[in-house]
């Protein structure tokens, strides 16, 4: 009987050591989690605080020293890029969820989506620069930026849509086929509406990402804007609506202010732009969260 010879005190000591280790580790893990939240709070409060401190009404103006133009450009470009990327991304997601059979073609599409989503945005920006600017013998223009943003959003939307549609229980499909609907009718009348909330969440997240994107835009839509907000003829070069003019976004503005701007109050401007971007991040996040909660209640 070897166990009988076990020195009980060793076991007890060992147990004590194990327990205190467990306790220390738990405390350490709480500390890391707390640190993480503290870091987020520090970053957001700092950025918003700096924005508030450097705020003067002129920064919101639509003149050269304001951010109004950039804000307009950002919203306009993100909206137009979604007009392109949502149908394509959602369409591809539906294809992957409902039509794609396991085989070589599906594998190729999946690899493509993965590649697109893992490519650095600066590389996608260079591609956009080459194909939508250099090869067209054009200068930086908003349209090039819009297309590049679409390429960035498409894989994200595809994945969200595919996941959302796949998770719809098969009973939905069976019910629909049972009353004589075709596959296409099932997709458009049953599956798409049923996954609409999650797809919308994906769209909101894609929009959020596009709002902050800069690396893909510095060589496509450019670093400056020359806009006249009294001119609403979309064909005119200084019209805000013209999509073939150069256009900088808020995020690009921060980059430009850091690297090459000679504006005297560039630090204050960049502070403001950063604060607006962070606030937008929160708005988009809360919207996505709200949509998700609504969809899980259903």
């Amino acid at each position: 009987m070897r166990t009988a010879q076990f020195d009980q005190s060793i076991v007890q000591k060992n147990n004590k050591r194990r327990r205190s280790q467990d306790k220390t580790a738990t405390i350490a893990l709480y500390a890391v989690a707390g640190l993480f939240l503290l870091l987020l709070a520090a970053i957001t409060l700092y950025v918003i605080g700096r924005g508030v401190i450097s705020f003067t009404p002129k920064y919101l103006s639509f003149q050269k020293d304001g951010l109004g133009v950039e804000l307009f450009n950002t919203v306009y470009m993100v909206f137009l890029s979604l007009v392109i990327s949502v149908p394509l991304g959602v369409g591809a997601g539906l294809y992957m969820a409902e039509y794609a059979k396991s085989g070589r073609l599906t594998n190729i599409i999946r690899t493509s989506i993965e590649t697109l989503s893992s490519l650095p945005s600066i590389v996608l920006g260079l591609f956009g620069f080459l194909v939508f600017v250099l090869l067209e013998k054009a200068t930086w223009n908003m349209f090039a930026g819009i297309l590049t943003l679409s390429i960035i959003s498409i894989p994200l939307l595809t994945r969200v849509t595919e996941d959302a549609v796949r998770e719809i229980p098969n009973t939905y499909r069976e019910g629909s086929y049972g009353i004589g609907a075709t596959k296409w009718q099932t997709i458009t009348k049953i599956l798409l509406p049923a996954s609409m909330n999650r797809i919308t969440t994906g769209v909101v997240l894609a929009a959020g990402r596009s709002f902050g994107e800069a690396a893909a835009l510095i060589y496509t839509s450019g670093l400056t804007s020359d806009v006249d907000f009294t001119n609403w003829n979309p064909l005119s070069h200084t019209s805000p609506l013209n999509i073939f003019r150069t256009a900088d976004t808020l995020a690009v503005r921060i980059w430009y202010l850091k690297t090459s701007s000679i504006l005297p109050d560039k630090y204050e401007l960049a502070d403001m732009a950063a604060a607006v971007l962070i606030i937008l991040v929160f708005v988009f996040n809360l919207t996505a969260r709200y949509l998700r909660r609504r969809s899980s209640l259903k």
Binding site: A33, L35, A100, T115, S118, L130, A215, I254, W255, R289
Partner: protein, 306 residues
């Protein structure tokens, strides 16, 4: 009446085919875009080797980079080792800083307090992901760099490999945490129960059962983080100093593949050795992100076999 029925089925059939072929076309379009990116990058990226007669060895391992910025000028040295080493050192530093914290956070979310994790950490992670990289870079310039400069007594205002590593560490943290948390969560419950049954404490159960069982998932998270760090351009560019020199230590300034592309692309006309070199660097980035994808797939496949 029969006519109407056939018409109905015909139009149904028509919509069916149209719908299916449209969706298939969209799927194929994605493949086409990816192929186009690959082809165009290869075409532009190979010019360094074909038009400007640099050998691949010289490009990858050469330590002097001073390409010609004008047409007709004599080709300069086109060694990009500085940028490759720069990218590697900043990204690896970021991983070293980020991984322990990220895994700890993942453990916290799954094992220690899922309630607090879901209520506070999960939303925090999502916001961290959403913050634009230029904002990280901006906070880096205005807070981190001055701080580092005063702590380490740096003459050039704190822009350094260390600053780049820290900014990147914050940026890849959510990626690693999310993937690692999923991996730990997916370890079968029986493992945990068996471990407790043998008298393990929670910490012993985590370190000797959950983490080892989730290691391939955690590794996937680390590679995803690395790939994000490798491809990040502007945030790093804002805090790394942009000097054309190998990093001599954590506090020295250097350049990376992405920062050089971001700051250099506009400086010379397209088709000069300068820009062609930058295209080659973009091609290198493409190849590297492909390698990361392949690695993740290999890990995934191995896990399935286990």
């Amino acid at each position: 009446m029969f006519g109407k029925v056939t018409l109905l089925t015909q139009s149904k059939f028509f919509k069916e085919t149209l719908g299916k072929s449209t969706l298939t076309a969209v799927g194929l379009l994605i493949v086409l875009v990816t192929l186009a990116i690959l082809l165009f990058l290869t075409w532009k990226g190979l010019a360094t080797f074909t038009t400007h007669n640099t050998s691949i060895i010289d490009f990858l391992f050469g330590s002097r980079w001073d390409p010609a910025m004008e047409f007709g000028a004599e080709n300069g040295p086109a060694g990009s080792a500085i940028f490759i080493v720069g990218s590697l050192s900043v990204s690896c530093l970021a991983l070293l800083i980020s991984t322990p914290f990220a895994v700890a956070c993942a453990i916290f979310i799954v094992e220690i307090s899922p309630r607090l994790g879901n209520k506070f950490l999960q939303p925090a992670i999502e916001i961290f992901v959403g913050i634009p990289s230029v904002v990280y870079g901006w906070v880096g310039i205005s807070v981190l760099c001055p701080f580092l400069a005063s702590v380490f007594n740096m003459p050039f205002g704190g822009e350094s490999v260390l600053a780049g590593g820290i900014v990147l560490a914050v940026m890849i943290f959510p990626t690693i945490t999310t993937v690692a948390a999923d991996a730990i969560r997916n370890v079968p419950q029986e493992y945990t129960e068996a471990s407790y049954g043998l008298g393990a404490t929670r910490w012993q159960m985590i370190t000797s059962v959950r983490i080892p069982a989730a290691k391939s998932g955690i590794l996937t998270g680390i590679i995803l983080g690395l790939s994000r760090a490798f491809g990040e351009a502007l945030a790093v560019s804002m805090v790394i100093g942009g000097r054309l020199a190998f990093p001599k230590g954590l506090l020295s300034q250097t350049s990376t593949l992405t920062t050089q592309i971001a700051s250099g692309m506009g400086s010379a006309a397209d088709g000069t050795q300068w820009t062609d070199n930058l295209w080659s660097m973009a091609l290198v980035l493409f190849v590297i992100s492909f390698i990361f994808i392949a690695l993740i797939r290999v890990i995934g496949r191995k896990k399935k076999e286990d």
